[in-house]
């Protein structure tokens, strides 16, 4: 089925016109060829559907979807390519396909030229028809073959056709006009079914007409931003329409309308609802219209004001995180450069919207259309169509639609036909409106140009391969094919389909690459290997190649990567020949990776012998020929003359044979293991070689191996001994036999002692593991070796191995039979086997010598301290005695550890130990130093002694030590240091003693003696010392003395040429501490500087600057002070002149009414007041509280710090911080108010009477004069706005 389609597909796409010419033209010819009479051309309704004719090449994908062909997410196909910009189908990208609908375009052109239909303004596409509306109100309807079926001309002067829409059954076409008319036409005949003039807001144009999922219902959106539902009725045969406003433009103008139509035939829960997505310039809504009007969800949608929102629905297979799959509608909402994807589904009986994804684009988009369930096509403001893969959010390809001269619906959005009565926002946003000039159907996007119509299709996997093949882009085609194959995963049907496609690709390759078969060979080989069609590789491809080397290279690579193990024998022969020529070593690697059954053994083994490919030889002998000893008999005699690789190889081989493992990997077949082990062992231990040369030494194979590498050979044997063949009674005797053979081979005449040592160690090990039957003779032999006093060229490794072996024997009591511990001890002493000695002493409980064993054995030093620590408290171990005895050695080994142990356990004996070391300064020094570092609690004498040693041995450390430590007497230390002439330390000590003069002189001395490089550093430290001396309170120096210090320093420094660059900073430093005049004097007098004004210029300038800055600061401070005083004054004045009013006619203290003519105190701006008597009580309480100290400083007036500052600034204006608070509202009360009671007027009066004492001021009106009363009195003025109601 598939392959029957393929040729026609090929011819379709392979034709020369394929890229530019319409596919429809092809099918058109087919139709023309039909004989009308014979076939009786079917009525228009029964025409082949557009689907069928237009996208015949889609058959592949249709079948694919039926069969579940791998249609991987396009991004996963691994060939994300940019390009295709240029509008032609021949561009670089393989995903998008461009075609121009020639038939439609021709008709459009002629319509506009001949009948004055104007430019195209809107279009619609369904399965059988295309409809195009023009700016002069013409509607052209084309069928699937692009033949014009009918044309309709609007006679009502309704302006341009602004929107068109086919119903899902394709038998009705709705057309909206720029002046508000909506027409319903029969798609077959073009008859007008309904003519609806006033279904939308009067005097507005139609922006959208859309059919909904209900057959008799459509939506219309007008330029006023309202949305109307049109329900078509047919009462008594009369067609009618009832219209209803769903959404008024007054509440925000709807720009985009997109009803959800069920695209698949399958049932979906949402089918029962009639759902529409609407978008305004600020929000988008999901609305159900039927069964009842309801907003399901709305979201804000922000974006630039000149961008319209875009909406598109698509049914998408969604795999949830919990692996459940569902097919649900997904809405893409876009505005500006943002795209949001929402899934709509029913959960618990409610329609739910779920945000799936958010994509941000590079540019602002004009449209978004689904092109299949995986891709969205977006046209951006520069008319470039971007294809996005939704799952990966990646851009797959883009194509420039600049040549299409796309139609924009801005005229409708600006309402030009209706007098422009649209909102400015809508008009601005509608500049790039292209809702009605783009239509998506399936994986195709139709773009309406002003005189043409274009088609952009998305190719499926199969089509893309075909396309790439057609363009001979084999590499990409292979990659794509493989990606598709891999994406098929473990779905067998899909995999088979993909495999067939790849095989077809291969055939196409073979057919196309006849002339240059090497082109892209690697990709093709990889393809075949991945899909496991090796036969094709070996036969068809191989036979076709002229230059086989490339092929062999590729195959080799795949073998090395373990992609294949089996090749055709013909290839393997060629491969072997080829690599023999180029690189036999590589051949060996390849052979080891290959399955031997495909090799020409005769050829390979002969080559291996010739080229000494031992590994390959061993591998093939063992695996192919099942002869495990042949490698040994052939190769062991060669060990001596060959590089060591061979020997190592053989050892590995023997070891793996004896362990039952295959070489180089894998396992020996179960049934062979026994034989193999036996054979190999027998071969190794055979007395004579197969050739049995006349003067051959016995056991030639084992001998050769031992000679090659004794240690490793013995390791191999000991590994073999762990196998079960060597356990049990029989196994032990087997072991013994082998050991005897080994002993026979290894004689002092033929071997070095170290080799024999290895063997004897090995035997000792075997004995101690009690794996060998006890044999006194053998034991004696071993012991003789072990206790040898000195062995020539014995390495430390060997020695420790010897010791270990001996130790093991002792631990396992193997030597009891021939000797006792005492003898052993003597032997060990002689043989310098301290470890053994140590063990024996321990065993004999002769502890007093153990430490010396430890000391003599450098490997055990660390353990020694652990040992000492563990037994330090046990007197019978005599640790202290031994420690005392070996103290020097111990200190030499590790002073720190030794000191630690002494300090921890033998602190009482410290004096004794120190005494002991008295005559050896070096150890004493170490000891003291460690003690000091440990505890820092030395006595003064001890630390002085330490200082002395430090001075002597590590003079660099002295200063550090002096700084860190405090337990010495300063004068004694100073003497010591001076003795050793360690001036820096002395300076430090002198300063510590506060003897700055001495310190300074010493420091100056250092400076004088310093090398030129250090001078600067020294000078800095001296000046630092000087400034410390000047600042320090402890220094008893007088002003004069300090200056003299500075001057002395400067006098020395200034003339020095090499200190020029610090002179300045030095002077600056000094200027802070000495009299500046003197300093200038000094500078002037220094003859070196006199010539150079530059140096003092800075100094003088800085002096001037400083003085200027100080003056400035002074002035500013004065100004600020004055300003603050003035402000304070002003504030006070304002406060004082403010009137007070009472808002609550109740005393805040006693809660009694206020109008009983007593004196009252108004507490402040809060409007509360209290009686005079009450205020006295209140004040008293307040003061008490303040004195008790629980007065918190959280008063709202000022924080304490700011108050401190202001107090400093204005002591007079600010009273002390006793702040009282109104008991009612916590508003703070100013002190002076308490002193100013007022009297309330008589109840009948509105205006206040003033207090007697202030009557004199009554003439001044309500204001009180604050400035004139020196005890700071203020007039409280009560001003009642309106009398209290109770009066």
């Amino acid at each position: 089925m598939n392959e029957l389609k393929a040729p026609s597909l090929n011819s379709l796409l392979g034709s020369d016109r394929g890229s530019t010419d319409s596919l429809l033209a092809e099918s058109l010819i087919d139709v023309e060829e039909l004989d009308d009479v014979e076939y009786s051309i079917p009525p228009p309704g029964a025409l082949p559907s557009l689907e069928k004719v237009l996208s015949e090449f889609e058959e592949d994908s249709d079948i694919a979807s039926e069969l579940g062909i791998p249609t991987p997410s396009i991004a996963e196909e691994g060939s994300v390519r940019m390009g295709g910009i240029g509008g032609g189908g021949g561009g670089g990208g393989s995903i998008m396909r461009y075609a121009m609908l020639q038939g439609v375009s021709t008709q459009l052109t002629s319509a506009s030229d001949r009948i004055g239909a104007g430019m195209a303004s809107s279009c619609a596409v369904c399965n059988h028809y295309y409809a195009v509306g023009t700016s002069h109100g013409h509607i052209l309807n084309f069928d699937a073959t692009q033949t014009l079926r009918w044309a309709h001309q609007d006679k009502n002067g309704q302006g341009a056709v602004s929107s068109l829409s086919f119903n899902p059954e394709c038998n009705r076409l709705l057309a909206g006009f720029a002046r508000g008319l909506v027409l319903m036409l029969d798609t077959q005949t073009g008859d007008i079914m309904r003519q609806l003039f006033d279904v939308v807001t009067p005097n507005t144009g139609i922006l959208h007409v859309k059919w909904t999922s209900r057959p008799a219902m459509a939506l219309a959106a007008d330029s006023g931003g309202s949305v109307w539902s049109l329900s078509f009725t047919r009462k008594l045969g009369v067609r009618g329409c009832s219209t209803r406003c769903l959404f008024s433009g007054a509440r925000g103008e709807v720009c985009a309308v997109e009803p959800l139509l069920s695209q698949t035939g399958e049932h979906h829960d949402l089918d029962q609802y009639c759902i529409v997505a609407l978008a305004t310039l600020s929000k988008y809504f999901i609305v159900t219209i039927r069964p009842r009007l309801k907003v399901i969800k709305y979201h804000l949608l922000q974006g630039p004001p000149d961008c319209l929102p875009v909406l598109a629905w698509q049914m998408v297979l969604i795999q949830a995180a919990d692996a459940t799959r569902s097919v649900d509608p997904v809405l893409v909402v876009g505005r500006g450069n943002q795209l949001f994807f929402h899934q709509l589904f029913i959960s618990h009986g409610r329609i739910t919207l779920l945000l799936l994804r958010h994509i941000t684009m590079q540019t602002n988009i004009l449209s978004a259309h689904w092109l299949g369930p995986k891709c969205v096509g977006c046209i951006d403001t520069s008319e470039i169509l971007h294809l996005l893969d939704v799952r990966s959010s990646k851009e797959l390809e883009c194509i420039d639609l600049g040549n299409a001269s796309m139609v924009y619906g801005s005229a409708q959005f600006k309402g030009l036909a209706t007098g422009g009565n649209v909102s400015p926002a809508l008009a601005l946003a509608g500049t790039h409106a292209c809702y009605n000039s783009l239509a998506a159907r399936g994986v195709q996007l139709y773009v309406l140009g002003s005189r043409s119509m274009h088609l952009i299709g998305v190719r499926t996997w199969m089509e893309r391969i075909t396309y790439l093949v057609k363009n001979h882009r084999w590499q990409e085609a292979c990659d794509l094919a493989l990606d598709g194959y891999r994406a098929a995963g473990d779905r067998p049907k899909r995999k088979l389909q993909a495999k067939e496609r790849i095989i077809m690709l291969f055939k196409e390759y073979i057919a196309a690459s006849a002339r240059a078969p090497d082109y892209c060979l690697g990709a093709i080989i990889k393809c075949l290997i991945v899909i496991d069609e090796l036969e094709l590789l070996w036969t068809q491809l191989w036979e076709r190649l002229q230059n086989k080397e490339l092929f062999l290279h590729h195959i080799t690579q795949h073998i090395e990567n373990d992609d294949i193990h089996q090749v055709n024998p013909i290839i393997s022969q060629a491969l072997v020949d080829y690599w023999l020529k180029i690189s036999p070593a590589k051949l060996e690697d390849v052979i080891l990776k290959m399955d031997w059954t495909c090799l020409d053994l005769n050829q390979v083994l002969k080559a291996a012998r010739k080229h000494k490919l031992y590994k390959a030889q061993i591998y093939l002998n063992a695996n192919a020929l099942h002869d495990y000893t042949m490698s040994l008999t052939e190769l062991i005699p060669l060990i001596g003359s060959e590089p060591p690789d061979l020997g190592n190889c053989l050892l590995v081989y023997i070891s793996s044979c004896l362990a039952g493992r295959g070489y180089p990997q894998g396992d020996i077949p179960e049934e062979l293991i026994q034989n193999v082990k036996h054979d190999v062992l027998r071969c190794l231990t055979s007395l004579h070689s197969t050739t049995s040369e006349p003067n051959e030494m016995p056991y030639p194979y084992l001998r050769a191996l031992l000679k090659f590498d004794t240690r490793e050979t013995l390791n191999v044997i000991s590994l073999a001994f762990q196998e079960k063949e060597f356990s049990g009674e029989l196994g032990y005797s087997q072991r013994k036999r082998i050991i005897n053979i080994l002993l026979e081979i290894m004689t002092p005449e033929n071997n070095t002692w170290s080799e024999i040592g290895c063997l004897l160690n090995f035997i000792a090990q075997q004995i101690s593991e009690s794996c060998l039957p006890c044999d006194t003779q053998l034991l004696e032999k071993v012991l003789n070796y072990l206790s040898m006093e000195s062995i020539e060229n014995e390495s430390s490794r060997l020695h420790s191995e010897r010791e270990n072996a001996w130790y093991e024997l002792l631990v396992n009591n193997c030597l009891n039979a021939i000797s006792n511990d005492e003898e052993q001890l003597q032997l060990a002493k002689k043989a310098h086997c301290y470890y053994v000695q140590e063990y024996l002493l321990e065993k004999l409980q002769r502890y007093d010598e153990i430490l010396s064993c430890y000391i003599s054995n450098p490997l055990r030093h660390e353990t020694m301290f652990v040992y000492m620590e563990r037994y330090a408290r046990e007197t019978n171990r005599k640790i202290y005695q031994q420690l005392k005895q070996h103290l020097r050695k111990l200190l030499e080994i590790d002073g720190k550890e030794t000191t630690r142990i002494v300090d921890l356990y033998f602190r009482d004996m410290l004096e004794e130990l120190l005494q002991l070391l008295e005559d050896d300064e070096r150890f004493l020094f170490i000891f003291l130093k460690q003690l000091q570092q440990r505890n820092d609690d030395l006595t003064a004498e001890q630390s002085e002694k330490l200082i002395k040693f430090l001075c002597k041995y590590e003079p660099m450390e002295v200063e550090e030590f002096l700084k860190a430590c405090n337990c010495y007497r300063i004068d004694a230390a100073l003497d010591l240091v001076m003795n050793y002439k360690l001036l820096p330390a002395a300076v430090f000590l002198a300063e510590k003693q506060s003897d700055y003069k001495l310190a300074f002189h010493l420091a100056l001395e250092i400076l004088k003696n310093a090398s030129p490089e250090q001078m600067e550093e020294c000078a800095k430290s001296v000046s630092a010392l000087c400034s410390r001396s000047s600042l320090s309170s402890k220094s008893q120096l007088t002003e004069k003395e300090r200056e003299s210090l500075w001057f002395e320093l400067l006098k020395y420094i200034l003339p020095l040429e090499n200190l020029k660059n610090i002179t300045k900073s030095m002077l600056h430093e000094a200027s802070q501490h000495v009299d500046l005049t003197n300093l200038v004097q000094l500078v002037m007098n220094t003859h070196n500087v006199s010539g150079n004004f530059g140096d003092i210029k800075e100094l003088l300038l800085s002096m001037l600057n400083q003085s200027k800055a100080e003056t400035n600061a002074m002035e500013i401070a004065m100004r600020i002070l004055e300003k603050e005083v003035a402000e304070k004054f002003h504030q006070r004045k304002k406060q004082a002149s403010r009137g007070l009013l009472i808002t609550m006619m109740q005393c805040v203290v006693c809660k009694q009414r206020l109008y009983n003519q007593a004196a009252i105190i108004i507490v402040g701006s809060c409007g509360h007041a209290m009686h005079g008597q009450c205020s006295i009580e209140f004040q008293r309480q307040h003061h008490m509280k303040f004195e008790n100290g629980d007065y918190d400083d959280d008063s709202p007036s000022t924080s304490s710090s700011s108050r401190n500052i202001s107090q400093q600034l204005s002591n007079n204006l600010m009273e002390d911080a006793i702040i009282m608070q109104c008991p009612y509202c916590l508003c703070c009360i100013e002190e002076q108010r308490m002193a100013m009671p007022v009297q309330l007027a008589k109840p009948s009066h509105n205006v206040v009477n003033y207090n007697n004492q202030q009557l004199q001021n009554a003439n001044n009106g309500k204001y009180a004069n604050t400035a004139m009363a020196s005890p700071y009195k203020e007039l409280g003025v009560l001003h009642l706005k309106s009398p209290p109601r109770k009066f």
């Binding site: 095989i503 055939k507 094709l536 024998p569 005769n602 002869d627």
Partner: protein
């Protein structure tokens, strides 16, 4: 594998500009194995057949050697993939690996050596028992140029061959006598339409043969 002829057909959409499009013959590929005692002349026989050469002192084969030769019979190209096994006793365990998938076998003996004839009989027995039931077996009495010192009589062998349904010829690798003939005889006896093997040059040919070729059954190896 079953898909190859089919997809081959669909690739026919390609072109007719194939280099070997002129070849009208069918092509088959057969696996053939040589068995027999050591030093009876198996390798020499193959060498004569494949390269037309003869070495008096042919090295003994290790394991097995692989050679190919293509011959034409009528309109069919027959490609032999020949596994020349080693005769030495120690390689006997290898033999099943090679004759298991073989369509044809030549059992060789030396007419001067009775033991080798007996050995040949055991091989035939083993083949009958172990190899594929359709295997074409030929018995070759080699070194026929030395027939004056023969030990195994022609009739004896002939009779044995007839009893067991074997092709039989006395051959001489040295002179080339009957060497090609025995291979030709085997090729003729082999079923030519055995699908699994008609690949190779086939793809090019089938372009012109078109549809009817698709019906060829695809028997898997």
């Amino acid at each position: 594998m079953a898909t190859t002829p089919r997809s081959g057909g669909s690739a026919g959409g390609g072109t007719a500009q194939r280099p070997n499009g002129t070849s009208q013959s069918k092509s088959c590929q057969f696996k053939l194995v040589l068995l027999g005692e050591s030093a009876v002349g198996k390798s020499s026989l193959v060498l004569r057949f494949v390269k037309g050469q003869f070495h008096e002192y042919q090295e003994s084969t290790i394991g097995a050697a692989f050679l190919t030769q293509t011959i034409c019979i009528e309109d069919t190209v027959v490609k032999f993939e020949i596994w020349d096994t080693a005769g030495q006793e120690r390689y006997h365990s290898l033999a099943p690996m090679y004759y298991r998938g073989a369509q044809a076998a030549i059992v060789v003996y030396d007419i001067q050596n009775q033991d080798s004839f007996q050995r040949a009989k055991t091989w035939v027995k083993e083949l009958h028992k172990q190899a594929s039931p359709n295997i074409v077996i030929a018995l070759a009495g080699n070194k026929a140029d030395l027939s004056n010192i023969r030990v195994v009589e022609y009739e004896e062998a002939k009779q044995y061959a007839e009893e067991n349904g074997l092709l039989f010829m006395e051959t001489s690798a040295k002179t080339g006598m009957n060497v090609n003939d025995i291979f030709m005889a085997i090729a003729k006896k082999l079923p030519k339409n055995d699908g699994a093997n008609n690949q190779g040059a086939g793809a090019g040919r089938r372009l012109n043969e078109n549809e009817n070729n698709r019906q060829t059954t695809n028997c898997c190896k």
